[in-house]
Amino acid sequence: MSTDTSCAINYKKVDDIIASIGAKKQNLIAILQKVQEEFRFLPQEAIAYIGTKIDGLSPAEVYGVATFYAQFSLEPKGKYEIKCCDGTACHVRGSMPVYTYLTQRFNLEEGKFTSKDGLFSVETVSCLGACGLAPVVVINGKVYPQMTTDAIKIVIDTLVAKEQEG
């Protein structure tokens, strides 16, 4: 891990999450999802901590689960999480130019997915199940249908403007 993702963590919050869901191995994924919701990513310390708090799990095993599922991020995600659907329908209808536009717009190098200002993160997802509206982009849960490079530009411009105002 090249990036330093250590930060002061409120362990009490992790404790509360574990207590609310139940300190059982079968709840691990749900616990990680809540923790990620809390911190917007999974800090390494939180992963180790969870590994010491649930019977039958080790930090290495929790790390293994956290790195297996695409939903989990060990690096901070942007304020705006942009998901470009690259399912088959979106792909054949031109999702890649939209994705390329976004990576260029935020100057994302290979292997990086969050813009330098931490505002936007861009990733492709396999299928959002909105194939009838292909290609789609989802930003913080909101689905934007039938995207083109033109259309996504307007969406991003609006968000950027909103940030600059606020």
Binding site: S58, A60, E61, Y63, T67
Partner: protein
């Protein structure tokens, strides 16, 4: 009752084999495998053991239970195609610097690549700049992720034997790696260095850190005198490296070979095992009398000691303060050899120990085992390493004539020799404790319930009646089992007074430093048989009857647990959980 099925058109019998692969092997055939290890759960990942079953296509034989009448073919065009592609794909992604690899000659990937004639690799592999760093920062185990084929055997060993999963998978798909938490080094997590991960590793991804050159350096230094000691279990396993049967006792041959290699004095850790019993049995009796710090935990196994220190520092008061036999013998050698042998002094005397164990290498550099600014044991070699040294010196162990070891630390009893199998320490301790307390002669020396080294014997118990006092002795091997006993203790439910723990399944005979035996679970049973055979054959079978031990106490140590004994033979422990990566108490 035997059933039959067909392997390569031959009717074959099977009984209780858990899978087709075992049936195939028991009937004179073989299929290759990387991930199947009989003592671990089936995994089915490497796909090398695929066989063609009529009506069912290709199936991995390691995961398929036998059924009567199945028609199996082990060597068809289809099975060969899958195996060859698997090998080619693995090799493409593998650091193929075979000649300088520690595992060369012992590597299953290398072996099958040769058998299947993989001569051309069509797929581009990892570029050197993509190679991951090698972890060789701990004293016991070297982890080279560039040689890992992701068979998962180490991950399963760490979880299923030791229960604490220091190694795990990370990432997914072709980015998958096996690593400790977040890619840390083994030394910076709570690894206890038992070495079972490397014992099951088919390639050079996990190997024993070699100290061979250090030992040659000592031997070749004219100004240094080198004494050597070897653990009980080494003698019943070393022969395998030279074509002898598992369990065959080669102690005399080993003595001779070591002399040939140039060691100056040859002693035997078995002697020190008897010494350990003297100390530990007395310690146990004392704790029983006082009712303090019970149950008593044995302390011979360095992986177990480290486990307590890293996982349960609050229970360290239960741990016997006795050093391990090897740990006792080294300072005794350094203290007393100069008194018996001319030309030896504390400064020029070095001790090398030959152990079945990788954790011993880490134990040897404990600060508590230092004296006068030096480690009491200078170098620890594993059984595998001494085999290499003997081979490189051009000695054929199988043919060399046996020799005796040197005195005064060479004689041992049957009690000392059974230390090498799980249950042996407890049995030896009971033999002595019984007679010390009752002052009566124990007639039946065989504590059968404490014996057995297969997977069904990882927790064993016996109740010993010492003149009306019933003592419950519990023996466990693997730390996963140990943890269960500790939980009972923590929950106040422990009903045992003595707990023997060996981290390796079956005890030292199956230690991480022993010759490779991971594809055959019977081997450790044969080794254990070899030890129990020697026990019966030896004239003395109780530690306190060892005349050299008696002499040592009379002339030097006075009595068990004396001040002098404490100084040389006992040790202290420390809380290694505090400030570790798992300690969040201050955050």
């Amino acid at each position: 009752m035997a059933n039959t099925l067909f392997i390569n058109n031959k009717e074959c019998e099977y009984t209780n084999e858990p899978n087709l692969l075992e049936v195939i092997r028991n009937n004179g055939f073989n299929v290759p495998t990387f991930c199947y290890r009989p003592d671990l759960t089936q995994y089915g990942a490497c796909r090398m053991c695929v066989v063609e079953i009529e009506g069912r296509g290709l199936q991995s034989s390691c995961t398929m239970p036998p059924e009567p009448g199945l028609k199996i073919h082990t060597n068809t065009e289809r099975t060969r195609r899958v195996r060859k592609i698997v090998l080619e794909l693995l090799l493409a992604n593998h650091d193929r610097e075979c000649t300088t690899c520690n595992k060369s000659g012992n590597c299953e990937l290398q072996k099958y690549a040769q058998e299947y004639g993989i001569e051309d690799i069509r797929f581009a592999g990892k570029k050197p700049q993509d190679f991951l760093p090698i972890d060789n920062l701990n004293p016991s185990i070297v982890r080279d992720p560039n040689k890992c084929i992701l068979c998962g055997a180490c991950v399963r060993a760490c979880s299923e034997f030791q229960g604490h999963s220091v190694l795990g998978f990370a990432n997914r798909g072709s980015k998958t790696v096996v690593q400790p938490f977040a890619g840390r080094t083994l030394g910076s997590v709570d690894c206890v260095f038992c070495g079972q991960c490397q014992a099951v590793c088919p390639t050079g991804a996990l190997t024993i850190k070699s100290d061979i050159e250090r030992v040659w350096g000592l031997i070749n230094d004219k100004d240094k005198k080198v004494a050597v000691q070897m653990a009980p279990s080494v003698r019943v396993a070393l022969g395998e490296e030279f074509g002898l049967n598992p369990g065959e006792n080669v102690i005399g041959k080993l003595n001779a070979a070591l002399r040939q290699l140039g060691f100056d004095l040859i002693f035997d850790t078995n002697f020190a095992a008897d010494l350990t019993i003297m100390e530990e049995a007395n310690e146990f009796i004392e704790r029983l009398n006082k009712g303090e710090n019970l149950p008593l935990f044995t302390s011979c196994c360095p992986a177990w000691v480290r486990y307590l220190e890293t996982h349960h520092p609050e229970l360290l008061n239960h741990l016997s303060t006795c050093k391990s036999p090897e740990g006792m013998l080294s300072p005794v050698i350094k203290e007393l050899v100069p008194k018996y042998y001319e030309g030896y002094d504390k400064e020029n005397l070095y001790v090398v120990s030959i152990m079945p164990c990788t954790a011993k290498k880490a134990e040897a550099i404990r600060s508590q085992l230092m004296k006068d600014g030096r480690f009491e044991t200078d170098v620890v070699l594993t059984t595998q390493e001494i085999a290499k040294m003997i081979k490189s010196a051009g000695i054929n162990l199988a043919k060399i004539k046996p020799e005796k070891n040197d005195s005064p630390f060479g004689q041992y009893t049957g009690a000392g020799t059974i230390f090498g199998a799980s249950g042996g320490v407890a049995e030896a301790a009971v033999r002595t404790a019984y007679e010390l307390v009752t002052k009566e002669t124990l007639t039946n020396l065989d504590f059968k319930p404490l014996r057995g080294v297969d997977k069904t014997h990882r927790t064993k118990e016996a109740i010993v009646d010492i003149k009306g006092t019933k003592i419950k002795v519990r023996v466990v091997s693997t730390l996963k089992e140990a943890e269960k006993s500790l939980r009972e203790l923590i929950e106040g439910k422990a009903d045992y007074q003595l707990l023997e723990v060996m981290a390796c399944p079956g005890g030292c005979i199956n230690g991480g430093g022993q010759p490779r035996s991971c594809d055959d679970s019977k081997i450790k049973e044969l080794r254990a048989e070899g030890l129990y055979k020697e026990d019966i054959e030896l004239p003395l079978r109780k530690s306190h009857e060892n005349p050299d031990i008696q002499k040592l106490y009379n002339e030097f140590l006075e009595k068990p647990n004396s001040h002098k004994a404490h100084e040389l033979l006992h040790t202290t422990y420390s809380d290694m959980f505090k400030n570790s990566y798992k300690d969040f108490s201050n955050k």
